[in-house]
């Protein structure tokens, strides 16, 4: 015991010892961090103020990119699309919570259902997007075959129409991610002490009251977490849109990230693409901050 105390004193004395070791441990990560995160962030900020197609020399244009962005109708339309897709967040949360409540029962074979609900989460997004494109096929797709079978006269053309494409992708997105949030809700539900329900039941509280006064308040943190992650992911929507609709029809499913992708890697407008990326960041940051403040007020 005494020995360790001495050692600790010694440690304090030779504090510079750790400096070298510390940086040696950090070395690999920090070099990658500098090269692929920190420096690129600075460079990207610089790029937002230039015009550059990777071939001709860089041209400094001041705020021109941002002024162009403010007047860019496409940018605002794609931003609207991006927000539209985020309607999937509350819908998905509702679905996930319902699934979690169903799964959180002591029933035989419940594990099988949990496995099934989680399958879409781990499956390749591209493969899932392709099968949903097939399901949504307006003429031969499974969904419309089902709809006309139950008597729907003019089933919607889904991803072939500008007005139905967005809802179609939202449904597919909920199907793919519901299982993930279900597990988060499940963990939170299982963390609520059972005695709370017992005593509430003895006091004559109805199931609905129990849910409203015990379950729902206990889910505040998970809800907050899911919303934040949902918004961050929502702003970055790209893959499903790229595979299922290529952003169409008539740009109706093009998102902000899709726009950045096109400008940077299809049309090689590195400057403008960077400016749009920073605009995206500002929106993302603003919404997270807002959410944080609202969350604090509630909790």
């Amino acid at each position: 015991m005494e020995n360790t105390k001495k050692k600790k004193k010694k440690k304090l004395f030779f504090i510079s010892d750790d400096t070298l070791t510390g940086y040696a441990f950090l070395g690999p990560n920090i070099s990658g961090f500098l090269l692929f995160t920190l420096i690129p962030i600075v460079v990207s900020f610089g790029l937002a103020f230039v015009e550059w197609d990777l071939l001709t020399p860089v041209k400094f244009t001041g705020f021109a990119n941002f002024i162009k962005l403010i007047h860019d109708k496409n940018f605002w339309y794609y931003l609207y699309n991006t927000f539209y897709f985020m309607l999937g967040i509350p819908l998905g949360m509702f679905a996930s919570l319902a699934l979690a409540i169903l799964i959180n029962q002591k029933l035989k074979g419940i594990v099988v259902f949990r496995t099934v609900f989680f399958l879409p989460v781990i499956s390749s997004m591209v493969a899932c997007a392709i099968v949903w494109r097939w399901i949504y096929n307006p003429d031969y797709g499974l969904l419309n075959a089902f709809l006309s079978w139950i008597g729907v006269r003019n089933p919607p053309p889904w991803i072939a129409s500008t007005s139905w494409a967005k809802p179609a992708l939202i449904i597919m997105g909920i199907w793919q991610s519901a299982g993930y949030n279900m597990l988060l809700y499940l963990a939170a539900l299982q963390g609520i002490p059972g005695e709370l329900y017992e005593s509430a039941g003895m006091d004559g509280a109805t199931k609905w009251q129990q849910f409203w006064y015990i379950t729902w308040p206990s889910l505040t943190f998970v809800n907050f977490f899911i919303v934040i992650i949902g918004i961050i992911n929502g702003f970055q929507a790209f893959g499903i849109q790229y595979v299922m609709t290529s952003g169409g029809p008539a740009d109706s499913t093009t998102t902000i990230v899709y726009y950045i992708f096109n400008h940077a890697f299809m049309w090689f407008n590195m400057g403008y693409a960077s400016a749009v990326a920073w605009a995206l960041f500002i929106f993302m940051f603003g919404f997270t901050l807002l959410q944080w403040k609202l969350g604090k007020q509630e909790g």
């Binding site: 990207s44 029962q105 949990r114 781990i122 997004m125 591209v126 099968v131």
Partner: protein
């Protein structure tokens, strides 16, 4: 009299229980069927004759079974190469992330050196910055290095994460210091402590990070799409997407290819299910 009443109320609550369970099962079955239907439809279509996919009403059981779709898809997508690419890239990225993040996390959690807290704050701050901001300069950098369309472009930029470092640091902080003191007394170096004490005690956290990195990388779409431009260098998701571009409405082949891509992950998942479940909860709530 009293026992009879008790008996009756017990029977009643049993009946309520039974009704409740039946409703639950009906709901579970209905939702479960909806969730799994796209997969069944995928397999069903993948085994049909090309013309049979347009039948109305849709047929669930293919007649005849056409297994050739799989060999046709395998050959036209060159899946062998794609699988090798995907596995190689995901394994290297995962190993790199676990090594570099755990080393850095150890320094952040246990060592004292000037500038540590500021640096850590810097890491945390960059976690807020979306990948879309860094991807353009990183692409330019890789282009200058002539790394575009190589394994290096797919692996190296993905090997370092602030998130992994953060998660492991949080876990390392929970390991009691007394365990290290014993090793220090035995004359263990800092690296020895990291290697012999911290890492073995952190297996669950390391495994979680590894699983999610692997899975994330396996399904990663945007980065391989950006930095590869030839068929030989593509990973599975990008290869599958470009196959879709070529065989836009060749549904039987497309579905066969999709099944080929999905099957390995499903098998891994079913055998390590508990572990995945834990991982989600850990990364979600504690990370």
């Amino acid at each position: 009299m009293e026992s009879l009443e008790r008996e009756l109320s017990r029977k009643r609550s049993k009946r309520i229980e039974f009704v409740k369970n039946t409703i639950s099962y009906i709901l579970l079955l209905a939702i479960g069927a909806t969730m799994i239907l796209p997969f069944i439809w995928m397999v069903s279509t993948s085994l049909k004759e090309a013309g049979a996919v347009f039948a109305y009403p849709p047929e669930w059981i293919p007649n005849p079974f056409v297994f050739r779709n799989y060999s046709d898809a395998w050959e036209s997508v060159r899946f062998g190469r794609l699988f090798v690419n995907s596995i190689f890239v995901a394994v290297c990225t995962t190993a790199g992330q676990v090594i570099t993040s755990s080393l850095a996390a150890y320094a952040f959690a246990r060592l004292d050196f000037p500038g540590k807290n500021k640096l850590f704050l810097c890491y945390l701050a960059t976690m807020m910055i979306p990948g879309q901001i860094t991807m353009i300069p990183v692409f330019i950098l890789l282009k200058e290095l002539n790394w575009i369309n190589t394994y290096k472009a797919l692996i190296v930029p993905m090997m370092f994460t602030a998130y992994g470092t953060f998660m492991l640091r949080q876990f390392f902080m929970t390991i009691p210091k007394d365990l290290e003191d014993a090793a220090v007394m035995d004359g263990c170096s800092k690296f020895g402590i990291y290697w012999r004490v911290i890492l073995p005690l952190s297996k669950p956290a390391l495994a979680t990070l590894a699983t999610f990195t692997f899975l994330g990388n396996w399904n990663n779409f945007m980065w391989p799409l950006i930095v590869t431009n030839s068929e030989e260098m593509r990973t599975l998701p990008v290869g599958l997407a470009s196959f879709q571009g070529l065989y836009n409405t060749d549904w039987t082949l497309l579905m066969a290819a999709s099944v080929i891509v999905i099957i390995p992950v499903i098998i891994i998942y079913i055998f390590n299910q508990r572990f995945f479940t834990k991982g989600v909860v850990m990364s979600g709530l504690k990370g």
